[in-house]
Symmetry: C2
Subunit: 251 residues, 2 copies
């Protein structure tokens, strides 16, 4: 299976509206530097799944005939905004897997359209989504009820941990036991900054405790991106900054 | 001043996700037939105003240095969704004029960012937005507290009435007295269909009571668009179907 990151920006995205910093100015000219809101696609031979749906242009390239489900980390708008349009499709119910959030986002639960939000997941309980994909919800510290996921293929797994400002002991233990080949983790802010999301120093410290072969930083804010221009990550290390369009393969 | 319609579709937009009707198939190939969610821009010599903000790509072409304010008809997601990204701009507070809605949309009121939502308007009370633009809120019948507007330039006015399933006597009287040169009115459904929005028969009947020289139908659903292919409006009549990008001038 493939995990394709479609949006690696934070809620403000890059470029930030009205911001003329060098990072935002660069992204306004060169598409490759844009960071769209949190969205990813999990591609299996039996269909595709959205992993968060913050991008609002999903309908333009998503093939509804192969969309088998949506997996949500939480119901902040920058992770679900794309569903507000998609829901009006004349489609059979599409299961949405996510945390047992009572309110959802705006009127999604009262007007679900083609989405079935009843598939609430239980922390730490592996859930078989298809023969090729098992997900294990990992509660994360955030300003709202939020799950990370261990995404397990037939032989390998990847951890997707956004949005995150730390984890409790059981989440840490579950992640360490899963031995993911790669960890994709929230890193919104420059060192020492912000809350509810990891800053670079805290993300790196956390990632080290998981000892994963590869770590990809996501949910990148423009402040962090500015910092990284002046203080790039060591090329030979296990940590990279993710980018929109990046694709990981998971056997 | 100019009123540029940027989105003349309903919440489902055209094309509807996953719909293969001839209207949606056509719009998927030919951009000119797309109908995006409710958004318009009012262009004056002293700056620009958004009139609803349902489009989520506003940041890509909106110049923040000339954005003077936002005028909202109501807080349904397809009319405000674009604000969720724009709000994080590092800008001086941008006034948002709209109905006295207590909840707004999702977390817009608790995290307003650069928007100032305190500019609640009073029904029927003309409000001077700038030397070139006075707006008069017209309560409309809809599933949520919703204002239409008489948009008054120096010598002429236009009425913008979306979303709408009728008006009460005082709204009708105010609209008739305003003598707008054009009325832009909700027409979501084919004749005899739907609720909370005008169907074609009801929109035409209502428009006739206003006796405006020009009537433009907006908030068009794909079902109405299919109907109009087989039953086009008379070319010589006062009523036209609006389209994305259409621009009206108001002296």
């Amino acid at each position: 299976m493939l995990i394709r990151l479609l949006g690696t920006g934070n809620a403000a995205q890059i470029p930030v509206f009205g911001c003329d910093c060098r990072v935002c100015a660069r992204a306004r000219v060169d598409e490759r530097y844009r960071r769209r809101p949190s969205s990813a696609e999990i591609v299996t031979s039996m269909g595709r799944y959205l992993l968060d749906a913050g991008r609002t242009d999903l309908a333009q390239w998503l093939d509804p005939s192969v969309l088998r489900g949506v997996i949500l980390t939480h119901y902040h708008m920058d992770h679900v905004e794309g569903l507000f349009h998609l829901r009006w499709g004349p489609l059979a119910p599409i299961p949405v897997y996510g945390p047992p959030d009572e309110t959802g986002a705006d009127d999604l639960f009262t007007h679900p359209g083609c989405f079935d939000f009843s598939h609430q997941l239980t922390p730490y309980e592996p859930t078989v989504i298809s023969q090729e994909l098992t997900v294990t919800p990992i509660p994360l510290k955030h300003s709202r009820l939020c799950f990370g996921y261990v995404l397990e293929g037939r032989r390998e797994s990847v951890a997707y941990l956004s949005d995150c400002d730390g984890v409790g002991p059981r989440s840490l233990d579950t992640l360490q036991r899963a031995k993911p080949k790669a960890v994709i983790v929230d890193c919104t802010y420059p060192p020492g900054m912000g809350r509810n999301h990891f800053s670079l120093d805290r993300a790196l410290e956390f990632a080290a405790t998981l000892a994963a072969p590869r770590v990809y930083l996501t949910h990148i804010g423009h402040g962090l991106e500015q910092h990284l221009i002046d203080h790039p990550l060591p090329l030979e290390g296990p940590v990279s900054v993710a980018s929109d369009g990046m694709t990981l393969s998971v056997e």
